[in-house]
Symmetry: C2
Subunit: 199 residues, 2 copies
DNA sequence: AGCATGATGTATGCGATATTAACATGCGGC
DNA sequence: GCCGCATGTTAATATCGCATACATCATGCT
C-alpha cells in the first residue's frame, strides 16, 4: 500500500536550479506577479523552508534569475553578431536576437523587466546587465568615431529593440502564428535605423 | 483641488479620486508592487471595505489609473505636436513629450507598464491606449505614402520613445539633476531617427 | 566506520491581503 | 420634513506568504 516511488532521495540534488525553473514556470502561467516562494517550493517537491538554504529570500531568487537571463541575452546577442560580417549587420543581427530573446524567453524577460525588484540592490544583477549591454556598446564603438557617439548609438539601438520587444510582449504589435516571420518583418525597422549615417 | 471637508464626515465626498491618488502615492514610494487596496484605503482615511463601492476589485482600480494615464499621455503628446510646424517636428515633439511624461508622471508610467495587470481584460484600457497611439499614427499618416508605411513609422517611433523612457526609468541612462536638460540631450537621438527618409 | 556538515523536514509565529455580508448614515430629491 | 439609495462602517472569512528555530537525515571526508 505504501506508494511506491522511485527512491526519492532526501537530498534533492539540485534544488537551486529546480526552484528557479519552478519560478519561471509560475511566471509563465500567472504573470510576473504570480510567483511565490511557497508555490515554487511545492512544485520543486520540497517544503517551504528548504529554499532558504539556497537563497537569502524571495527577491534573491528573482535576482539570480535576472542574472541568468542577462547571461543568456548576452550570449545570444554575441553569437548573432558573430554570424554577420559588417558592423552594421552585426548590430542588426544583435537587435534581432534581442527581439527573439524576448519572445522565446518571455518568462525571463518578464522577470527581468516586470518583476518590480529593485535591481540597484543587487550588484550582480547590474554587472550582468552591463555585460549584456557591452555587446552592443562594443559594436557601436567600432562604428563610431568618439566614445560619446558610440554610447549614444548603442543606447538608442538598445532602446529601440527593447521598446519593440515590450510593445510586442503586450500584444500591441500585430503578431501572426509564425514568430520567426514576425521577427523578419521587424528587421526593416531596425535596418533603417542602423543604416542611417550618424551625425 | 479636491473638495476636502474640514470636518471628518461620514461620507468622503470623492473617494474614488482619493483612492487613485493614494494608489499612485504608494507606487511612487514602494514601487509598482507596493500597492495594496488596504493601505490605499487607510491613506484615504477610509476602511478597507469602502473601495468596493467604487471598484469591482483591486485590478479594476489599477485599470482605471491606466486609463487616466493614457488620457494624460494622449493630451500631452497632442499638445506638444500642435506646438510644432512640420510633420517631422511634430513627431519629434511628441516623442519628447512621451519621455517627459514618463519622467514627470513616473507613477502613472509605472502602473501602466509595470503593474503586471492583464490589460486585455479591460476594453477601456485598450481603447485609451489606442487613442494615445493614434496621435502618433495620425502624424505618421501625414508623413508617409501608404498606410502600411505609416503604421510602421509610428510603431518604430513609439517603440524608440518607449524604450528610451524605460531605460531611463531604470537608471540605465546617465541622468543629471536637470530633467529638462537630459530630455533635450535625448532629442538628437529622436531627430536622427525621424529625419531619415523612410523606405 | 564514524563524524562533521550541509540539506531538508516539521512546527509555528506573525502579518498582510482581498473580499463579502450585514448594518449604519446622511445627502438630495420629493 | 421624510425617505431612498448611494456611500461607509463593522465584522468576519479565507487565504496566503515570509521567515525562523530546531530536529532529522544523508553524504562525503578522514
Amino acid at each position: 500500500m505504501t506508494p511506491r516511488r522511485p527512491v526519492r532521495s532526501y537530498h534533492h540534488g539540485d534544488l537551486k536550479t529546480a526552484l528557479k525553473k519552478a519560478a519561471l514556470e509560475l511566471v509563465r502561467e500567472k504573470g510576473p506577479r504570480g510567483f511565490s516562494l511557497n508555490e515554487a517550493s511545492r512544485r520543486a517537491g520540497v517544503t517551504v523552508a528548504a529554499p532558504y538554504r539556497h537563497f537569502d529570500d524571495k527577491e534573491a531568487l528573482l535576482a539570480e534569475i535576472i542574472c541568468d537571463g542577462n547571461a543568456i541575452l548576452e550570449e545570444e546577442t554575441r553569437r548573432a553578431a558573430n554570424g554577420a560580417r559588417t558592423i552594421t549587420q552585426k548590430m542588426l543581427e544583435a537587435g534581432v536576437a534581442y527581439l527573439r530573446f524576448a519572445a522565446e524567453h518571455a518568462d525571463y524577460f518578464s522577470v527581468m523587466f516586470h518583476s518590480g525588484i529593485d535591481k540597484s540592490k543587487y550588484p550582480s544583477v547590474q554587472l550582468s546587465a552591463t555585460r549584456a549591454f557591452d555587446v552592443i556598446l562594443g559594436l557601436a564603438q567600432q562604428k563610431e568615431a568618439t566614445e560619446k557617439l558610440a554610447r549614444e548609438r548603442a543606447v538608442s539601438a538598445w532602446a529601440l529593440a527593447h521598446g519593440l520587444a515590450t510593445l510586442r510582449s503586450e500584444g500591441a504589435l500585430s503578431e501572426t502564428a509564425d514568430q520567426e516571420a514576425d521577427l523578419q518583418h521587424l528587421k526593416p525597422i531596425l535596418r533603417r535605423f542602423l543604416d542611417q549615417p550618424y551625425q
